[in-house]
Symmetry: C2
Subunit: 408 residues, 2 copies
């Protein structure tokens, strides 16, 4: 199915050149979990001393792999670690069989790599509620283990795709005390995207040395400004997982370092935007900047109400500068708003202020903004200093086609 979809018009020109992250190696293989003629399993193996942090969906029906990862977080770093991910089946709502699948896979990876099973993390993405044919994955672990290569991150990015139309990667290089630390990550989307902790699947690696608890705290904080600020369709996956592995191979301690945090945020923001750019059926990338709210939390509530509104999203698809629907979304969001203090701009065009259309607004100016592929909607509540920025895409016929026909 993924192969038959046209590449998103919002896709980057090509997969980026990612730096090698010392201390971690990758491999991918074709296990035939569901898809034929493509890779569908990836393995990452980290050296001893690697700190592992993670944030996961808060869904009450989260998958067996997510529950297993959450239980294992915070373990000792001295034994190294591994991550195995399959696409084509999410191993969610699969009862006791789901737990068995996780146990079979993690013990096989542990045995092949000489690791304790408590340091093997897994993720599964794809259809919900069908038993994972874990035997097909276990049968490929020897092949994966012998193919591990520090340059194989792009192949890993391709193996975890489902309805994604392009592979997603991003990187940053940060100077700390005259030395260099590298960060590289991959992600997949591209429907069921309204992350409550992270998006579907994201894996980020760095050769920085960061103490585990500090890494976890930093990851969660940045996630709130990046992956937790994107939405494609308001639907939250049962499998959302974002893991960050710091191998320490650079010998540079970045614990609490602000430059490192900024570099990590650039990578996470870049990947989160790529997920939106590959939102199912997307033809427009939309940034919603909310300012002047009573609190930052209120600003985010307003931003996500606009971003999730089917009527706003279809208006954008139709290139209609329908600011009345933005007013509607603000009104329904539940967060504080005063109709007569509100102003709304499309790009730099002020369309509405003081409870009505702006005196200088002309429909053709708004219409010109909406014809762009990258659209900015600015909302100022006029109430306080709370602000937030969220990102989304439009809602098109292609979204309906993908989701009325595809069993995901």
């Amino acid at each position: 199915m993924a192969k038959s979809l046209p590449v998103s018009p919002l896709a980057p020109a090509s997969f980026p050149d990612l730096p090698v992250i010392k201390g971690v190696r990758f491999a991918s293989a074709s296990a035939g979990v569901k898809y034929q003629g493509r890779t569908d399993v990836m393995l990452a193996v980290m050296d001893p001393g690697t700190s592992v942090a993670g944030v996961f969906t808060r869904s009450k029906t989260r998958s067996a792999p997510v529950l297993d990862c959450q239980a294992k977080l915070g373990g000792a770093a001295d034994a190294g670690a591994a991550i195995l991910v399959n696409s084509g089946n999410s191993n969610a709502f699969t009862g006791r069989h789901g737990q068995t699948s996780v146990a079979e896979i993690t013990s096989a990876v542990a045995a092949a790599g000489g690791l304790p099973a408590e340091r093997v993390f897994t993720a599964s993405t794809g259809v919900i509620g069908e038993p994972l044919p874990h035997g097909r994955i276990v049968a490929k672990i020897g092949e994966l283990n012998s193919a591990l290569d520090e340059t194989a991150l792009e192949g890993a990015a391709r193996a975890i795709m489902t309805t994604d139309t392009f592979a997603k990667g991003a990187s940053a290089t940060v100077g700390i005390e005259g030395k260099t630390v590298k960060i590289a990550g991959i992600a997949k989307g591209s429907g069921m995207i309204a992350p409550d902790m992270a998006t579907m699947l994201v894996y980020i690696f760095t050769d920085a040395k960061v103490e585990q608890a500090a890494l976890q705290a930093q990851l969660a904080e940045i996630c709130d400004r990046t992956f937790n600020c994107i939405t494609v369709d308001s639907d939250t996956s049962t499998s959302d997982s974002l893991m960050l592995c710091a191998t320490g191979a650079s010998g540079v301690d970045a614990t609490g370092n602000a430059e490192f945090a900024a570099g990590l945020e650039r990578v996470m923001l870049d990947l989160s935007h790529q997920v939106v750019r590959d939102g199912e059926g997307a033809t427009k990338f939309v940034e919603i900047q909310v300012t002047g709210a009573a609190t930052d939390a209120d600003a985010k509530v307003h931003g996500l109400a606009i971003a999730n509104s089917p009527l706003v999203k279809t208006a954008i698809a139709g290139e209609d500068p329908n600011w009345g629907r933005v007013v509607m979304a603000i009104g329904k969001s539940g967060a504080e708003a005063d109709r007569d203090q509100l102003s709304i701009s499309f790009g730099d065009v002020l369309v509405a202020e003081k409870g009505w259309v702006s005196p200088g607004y002309k429909e053709e100016l708004g219409a010109a903004e909406m014809k762009k592929q990258e659209i900015t909607i600015k909302v100022d509540l006029g109430l306080g200093s709370g602000q937030a920025t969220v990102w989304t895409c439009d809602l098109t016929h292609q979204y309906i086609s993908i989701n009325a026909d595809y069993r995901s």
Copy 2:
């Protein structure tokens, strides 16, 4: 625009025969607010002694007519009352001009009917953010006033339509102490439907005599089980208004009467279902029955999360028995759930239980249920005795077509 849409496949065969409600008369006219070649204004005038109750959107950006109605509720019944409604323009987010329009219309209706302006209620539905050409409406008030007729409720139902593909009416007759009380109502939808107090516009009339405060309390309570349990697209209008007028012309006091409450609930449920059946692009009518939740409130949260999920709604459009998406929606709703206590049925087919697919489930059984035009999804949380039923429709290409092209 409304005229070019095909009639919903879920529409009733014809508009129902509605009983005459003594004490109220109706008229409709073509004022050319926006639409051409159809009626777009309706007037209802109630005799002295009529109690008027209303529930309205809780949107923070609600329209000028809504604010005006809310301020006037609870006034003395001895002077009679009137309701004037226009379609084609919602008079929402129209600043000071919006208040002027309301004042011009209400004072003209008051002058023509010999009523105080404090007893004239208005509503406007259609595009947000454009000035209401109230002069066109005021010019028709004399014509409306002289055409008032107790049998003209169907015409009023037609005048308030926007993207509705059929006019909506319902009625009940209730025996109280050997006498008969009648209830008749009309409604319009059909996008921006996720009522927070009521749906877009609903007007219900009865010849029962009910004390005003009791009528208001009864209306709000029933609204929570009817109009507040439907959703088309999760978007809440700036104009939602539901008004109930009890003329008392029957001479029967129904204050606090259980039979009357049951009759009123039948009318409200019927009208709310008709709004869903005319949801933009709808091809399936979906009832979601949630039981076994920790509380009734939790059950409604789960029901609405399922009903509003784009992935559930597109699966229904595609006749795909994709129960995994129901699991996802329950997981994200925020209300209490235990994956392993959950059971899900499509119609009478048990598809999932105890955290996994039901042993006896066969895909073809689920698929047969999904081919029906009326679909029931039953969810039991297995946690307590909380329950709720909500209603929605599917999400189709036609919804995208209507909303990417139509400025509403």
